[in-house]
C-alpha cells in the first residue's frame, strides 16, 4: 500500500539524487582541463519499497580509471625520461663538435700540418714560422675549449642529478602524506577521488625520474619501491635518497637512507628514468668522449715532440714543441711562441738554416696511421669521434621519438577512459536537469493531491 507521503518521499530522493548528479557533472566540467583528473561517474541504485517508499537510493560516485593502463603509462614515462635526459645532454655535446662551418678541430688540424709544410718549403723564412705558431695556438686553444666545455657539461649533469634526487624526495614525501589522508578518508567512509588523482599524478612525475614498482594495498595506501626492491614509500613513511662524493671529481654517488639514516650506495641499481639517463651521460658518454679527445691530443703531442726534440733549431737548441699531455693542457712550448727561431726544421745532420727533414717528417704525420692501433691517422680518428657523437644523438632522437609516440598513445587511451568529454557532460547535464524537473513535477502533483484531499474535507 502506498500513501501520498511515500510519493513525496520518492520525489525527495529523486530530487536529491539528480542534484548530486548535476554536482558531479559540474565537477567534471570544471576539471575538464585539469591534468591528471579522472572523471567521476554517478551510478544510481533503486531502493526497495519501504516505509518511505521506493525511489532512488544510492548515488555512488566512482572514479573512472584503468589501473593497468596507468601502470603501462608509468613504465613508458620511465623510458622516455631516460632518453629525454640523454638527448638534451648529447645536444649540448654535439654543439662542441660543429664541423659544418669549417672552423672546427678538423679544419685546424689540417691548417697545422700545412703550416709545417710551409716551414719545410722555406726553413729560413720568418713568416712561415710565425704562421706555424699561430696555427698551433689555434689548435691547442680549441682542444682546451672543447675539453673545458665537456667538463662543464659533466659538472652540470652532476648538479642536475642532485636536483633530480631532491625532486624525487619531495615527490615521495608528498605521496606518503597523501597515503595517510587517503587511508583516513577510507576509514571515515569519505570519497578520496581528488586525493587519488593527485597521488596518481605525483606517481607519474616520479616514474619519469626513476624506475619504480608500485602496489596498492587494500587500505588505499600505495607502496612504492625502486626497481631493485628498496622501498621508497611504505604506508605513510617515505625513504629519502641522497648524494655523496664519488670516485671522480664531479661524479657523485646516489645513496638510499634507511630509517636509521644509514646510507647505502645505489648508483648502479638505478635502471630507468631521468636519473638513469643522467648517470649514463655523466659516467659513460662524457668520459668516453673525453678519453678519445685526450688520446688524440696525447698522440699529437708525443709524435710531434719526438720528431721535434730530435731536430735542431735555428739557434742550435733542441726543444719540445708542445707542453702538456691531455686535451685540456696541450699548449705550444712558451719558449717557442716567444722565439720562432727555436722551431726545429732541420735534423742534426743537416746544415742550417736550409735543412728541412724534421719539418717534412712532422708534416708527414698528417697521413701517418698512428691512431686506432695503426689503422687511422689523426684526422680520421677525430672524424670517427665526431661520427660517434652524431650517432649517439641520432639514436637518442629516434628512441625519444618512438617513446613519445608510445607515451602519446597511452595518454590518449588513458584520456579515453578517464578523461572528460564536454559533449558527454553536456548531454548528462540535460539528462539530469530533465529528471530533476520531472521529480519536481512529481512533488507538485503529490502536493496538489494532498490539497485536493484537504479541500474535500
Amino acid at each position: 500500500m502506498t500513501d501520498i507521503n511515500s510519493i513525496l518521499g520518492i520525489g525527495r530522493t529523486a530530487l536529491l539524487a539528480q542534484q548530486t548528479a548535476i554536482d558531479v557533472t559540474g565537477r567534471n566540467i570544471a576539471n575538464a582541463d585539469t591534468e591528471g583528473y579522472s572523471r567521476q561517474r554517478v551510478t544510481f541504485s533503486s531502493l526497495n519499497a519501504n516505509y518511505f517508499g521506493g525511489g532512488v537510493a544510492g548515488v555512488d560516485i566512482e572514479r573512472v580509471y584503468d589501473r593497468y593502463l596507468e601502470a603501462q603509462l608509468n613504465l613508458a614515462l620511465q623510458t622516455s625520461g631516460r632518453w629525454a635526459s640523454q638527448q638534451s645532454g648529447l645536444e649540448r655535446i654535439e654543439i662542441l663538435f660543429d664541423e659544418s662551418s669549417g672552423t672546427g678541430l678538423s679544419e685546424r688540424l689540417n691548417a697545422f700540418w700545412n703550416a709545417w709544410m710551409d716551414v719545410a718549403n722555406d726553413p729560413s723564412g720568418g713568416v712561415p714560422r710565425h704562421q706555424l705558431i699561430a696555427r698551433s695556438q689555434e689548435l691547442t686553444s680549441l682542444f682546451s675549449s672543447i675539453a673545458t666545455n665537456m667538463d662543464l657539461i659533466q659538472q652540470d649533469t652532476n648538479a642536475t642529478i642532485g636536483d633530480t634526487v631532491d625532486q624525487i624526495n619531495e615527490l615521495t614525501r608528498q605521496i606518503a602524506d597523501l597515503n595517510g589522508q587517503i587511508r583516513q578518508a577510507d576509514l571515515e567512509g569519505r570519497d578520496a577521488h581528488t586525493l587519488k588523482d593527485t597521488r596518481a599524478q605525483l606517481l607519474r612525475d616520479l616514474s619519469s625520474r626513476i624506475d619504480v614498482t608500485t602496489y596498492e594495498k587494500s587500505d588505499g595506501t600505495l607502496s612504492i619501491a625502486m626497481g631493485s626492491g628498496l622501498p621508497l614509500v611504505e604506508n605513510i613513511d617515505s625513504f629519502q635518497l641522497g648524494t655523496v662524493a664519488g670516485t671522480g671529481l664531479y661524479q657523485d654517488d646516489i645513496v638510499w637512507l634507511d630509517s636509521q639514516g644509514n646510507a647505502r650506495v645505489i648508483t648502479s641499481q638505478v635502471t630507468d628514468g631521468h636519473l638513469k639517463g643522467l648517470l649514463v651521460l655523466r659516467d659513460e658518454i662524457i668520459p668516453d668522449i673525453l678519453g678519445q679527445l685526450d688520446a688524440l691530443a696525447g698522440g699529437i703531442i708525443s709524435e710531434v715532440n719526438a720528431l721535434h726534440a730530435g731536430g735542431v733549431a735555428l739557434d742550435g737548441t733542441q726543444n719540445d714543441f708542445f707542453t702538456g699531455s691531455t686535451a685540456a693542457d696541450i699548449a705550444v712550448n712558451p719558449d717557442i711562441s716567444a722565439d720562432p727561431q727555436k722551431i726545429a726544421a732541420a735534423d742534426p745532420s743537416e746544415g742550417l738554416p736550409g735543412g728541412n727533414s724534421v719539418a717534412l717528417a712532422i708534416a708527414d704525420l698528417q697521413a701517418a696511421p698512428v691512431m686506432g692501433g695503426g689503422t687511422a691517422n689523426f684526422g680520421q680518428y677525430y672524424s670517427a669521434l665526431v661520427s660517434d657523437v652524431g650517432s649517439a644523438l641520432q639514436t637518442a632522437n629516434t628512441s625519444m621519438s618512438y617513446q613519445a609516440d608510445v607515451t602519446a598513445n597511452l595518454t590518449a587511451y588513458r584520456a579515453s577512459v578517464s578523461g572528460v568529454s564536454l559533449d558527454e557532460e553536456m548531454v548528462n547535464l540535460v539528462k539530469y536537469q530533465n529528471a530533476f524537473q520531472a521529480a519536481a513535477q512529481l512533488i507538485n502533483v503529490a502536493d496538489e493531491m494532498l490539497e485536493t484531499l484537504v479541500n474535500m474535507i
Binding site: S106, N110, N114, A120, S124, G354, S387, S391, L422, M426
Partner: protein, 288 residues
C-alpha cells in the same frame, strides 16, 4: 574509444609541432645549402665529409709546394743558362787566343770579368736564401777566391703523399767537384797574361768538360720541373674528383628541398584549418 577534448587538443598540438619541426629542418637545408648540418643528421656522412676535406686540404698544400718550388727551379735554370753563355764566351776566347796573341791582355781582363760574373751568379739569392749554398742558405756560398762555404744539402719538395722531388744543386756539385770552373778561369786568365799558350790550350778541354757537366745539371733541373708539372696536373684532376665527391656528400638538392618545403607548408596549413574546425565545434553551440 572515447575522445575527450583534452586528448584531441593534445593530438592537434603534437601533430602541429611535428609539422613545424619538419618545416624548420627543410629550411635549414635550403639556407645552408647542405643536407648535413649536424653530425646527428648523418653520422656516416659527416665522417666521410671530414676525411674528404682533409684530403682536399693536403692536395691544396701540395700545389702550394709545387708553386714555390717552381720559383726556385726557374731561378736556377735562368742562372745556369746565363753561366752557360759566359762559358761559351770563354771558350771563344780560348779559340781566339790561338790566332791573336797580341790581344792576350785584353782577353785576360775579359776572362777576369767573366770569372767575377760567374762568382756573382753562383751567389744568387732568392728571397733570403742563397740557392747554391746547399743548406747553409744564410751566407753567400762562394768567396772571391772560389772557396765554397756551403754544404751538400739537397733541395727537397713534397709533391704528393708519398712522392718527393729532390735536387742536388749545391754549389760544390755544380761549380767545383767535377770541374772547378773558378780554377779553370783563373788558370785561363793567368795563361793569357803570361803568354803561356800551353796553359791556355789546356783549359779548352776543361771548359768543354765543365760545359758538358753544366748541361747534365740543367737536364736534372728540367727533369725535376717536368716531374712537378706532371704531379701538378695529377693533383688538379684528383682535386676535381674529390670536390665533386664532397659536393655529392654534403650539398642539398635545392630543387628537392624547395618542393619538400612547398608540400610541408601545404600540409601544415591543412592541419591548421582542420584543427580550427575541430576545436571550435562542440555541443554547446547547439544547446539553446
Amino acid at each position: 574509444m572515447r575522445i575527450t577534448h583534452q586528448s584531441s587538443t593534445e593530438s592537434v598540438i603534437r601533430y602541429l609541432r611535428q609539422q613545424t619541426w619538419d618545416i624548420l629542418k627543410t629550411q635549414e637545408r635550403i639556407s645552408s645549402g647542405k643536407k648535413i648540418n649536424q653530425p646527428s643528421d648523418d653520422p656516416q656522412g659527416i665522417r666521410q665529409i671530414l676525411d674528404t676535406r682533409q684530403i682536399l686540404s693536403s692536395l691544396d698544400q701540395f700545389q702550394r709546394n709545387i708553386t714555390q718550388a717552381d720559383l726556385r727551379m726557374n731561378a736556377l735554370e735562368t742562372t745556369l743558362a746565363t753561366v752557360d753563355e759566359l762559358i761559351t764566351t770563354a771558350q771563344d776566347i780560348v779559340v781566339s787566343a790561338e790566332h791573336a796573341p797580341e790581344l792576350t791582355t785584353t782577353m785576360a781582363d775579359q776572362v777576369a770579368r767573366i770569372r767575377d760574373q760567374v762568382i756573382q751568379l753562383a751567389n744568387t739569392r732568392l728571397g733570403d736564401a742563397y740557392v747554391f749554398a746547399g743548406h747553409n742558405t744564410a751566407t753567400a756560398p762562394f768567396l772571391d777566391d772560389g772557396t765554397y762555404t756551403g754544404d751538400g744539402g739537397a733541395y727537397r719538395v713534397r709533391v704528393g703523399e708519398a712522392s718527393e722531388v729532390s735536387l742536388q744543386v749545391d754549389g760544390d756539385t755544380v761549380f767545383k767537384t767535377t770541374e772547378d770552373i773558378f780554377a779553370i778561369l783563373e788558370n785561363l786568365e793567368t795563361g793569357l797574361r803570361n803568354g803561356d799558350a800551353a796553359l791556355v790550350q789546356n783549359q779548352a778541354a776543361s771548359l768543354a768538360s765543365f760545359d758538358a757537366h753544366l748541361q747534365t745539371v740543367r737536364a736534372d733541373i728540367g727533369f725535376a720541373m717536368n716531374q712537378m708539372e706532371i704531379s701538378s696536373n695529377y693533383l688538379d684532376t684528383f682535386r676535381l674528383k674529390m670536390e665533386n665527391y664532397l659536393t655529392d656528400l654534403e650539398a642539398a638538392d635545392l630543387t628537392e628541398a624547395a618542393v619538400d618545403l612547398q608540400i610541408q607548408n601545404t600540409v601544415y596549413e591543412a592541419a591548421l584549418a582542420a584543427a580550427a574546425d575541430l576545436l571550435q565545434t562542440n555541443l554547446l553551440q547547439f544547446l539553446r
